[in-house]
């Protein structure tokens, strides 16, 4: 894994890493896992377009290359998207059950991201 990887930029605890990998990495990283139905057109095209957009928005594999300002801004946005239930995208979790965020995982992830956000203003 790259050193700019979100889970390497911070000392992300194992359990939180797992949540991020399951629920966010599939769209927001350089190692996206294309599922079987992506070979069925036009679903494949649609998904590719989605992932292209998702990565432009937030690429967790390149998080370490972001400026501190941008990292802070993305953390804030991640927290809010998860809190509001906008992410992970429901159109996707509908098919991809393993990407769903059960309430306890959701809280764990939000709590962790909040501590990161509150410490990142200092540097």
């Amino acid at each position: 894994m790259l050193s700019t990887e979100f889970v390497n930029v911070y000392e992300v605890p194992e359990n939180v890493q797992q949540i991020l990998l399951n629920s966010c990495y599939n769209c927001h990283s350089n190692n996206t896992n294309y599922p079987w139905y992506s070979y069925v057109q036009p679903i494949g095209l649609l998904l590719e377009n989605h992932i292209y957009k998702a990565k432009a928005e937030l690429n967790l594999s390149e998080f370490g290359d972001y400026s501190v300002r941008k990292q802070r801004s993305k953390l804030k946005s991640m927290i809010s998207q998860i809190e509001k239930g906008e992410m992970p995208m429901t159109s996707y979790t509908f098919i991809h059950r393993e990407a769903r965020l059960p309430p306890e995982d959701k809280n764990k992830l939000i709590d962790y991201l909040k501590t990161l956000k509150n410490t990142s203003h200092e540097n």
């Binding site: 400026s67 300002r69 941008k70 801004s73 946005s77 203003h121 200092e122």
Partner: protein, 192 residues
Amino acid sequence: MLSLAIISWGAFAQNDYSSMNHSEKDQGKMDMKDNSSASASITVKHSKSASAVIDRYLKLKKALVEDNSQKAASESKNLFDAFAKFNLSAKSNSEQKELSEIIEDASEHAEHISENSGNLDHQREHFETLSNDIRDLIVIAGSDRTLYQMYCPMYNNGDGGMWLSSSIEVKNPFYGSKMMKCGSVQQEFTIK
């Protein structure tokens, strides 16, 4: 009177860590105002380099105060264009790095606001982060007018939110007609 002002400054400084970044310490000259408002005053240099950005930011703010999502989207597009035209090369080397980071982040927020016509909540969320960027931009690049940093402690489930205004009259861009009066002057940016 003076001691009271100092106490309230201390309380404020603890609350608002985000405004106490390096650039402000380096560039901004902070001084206590000894008038009744007891809010902090920061002197920034007089400059027209950010005039278009400030103009368009204030128009965007006005659209949000008016709960006008569509207008906010179009004003935001104009703000995005103003960032693209910001003349970084005219700035000193030491300022360029931070300014370009500010502009990169701010442009993204402007873009999201312009793409989310019909979703005021989401537009306002980006506007809050954008306001922090604009504040930091002014501290480095200067301003052509006096600006006020306003703060509403209720926004975002009590995390609070700040914005900039050219007047001390409170017109809240996060709540619009729902809670127009939430907020107070937190800081004044005066021109040197």
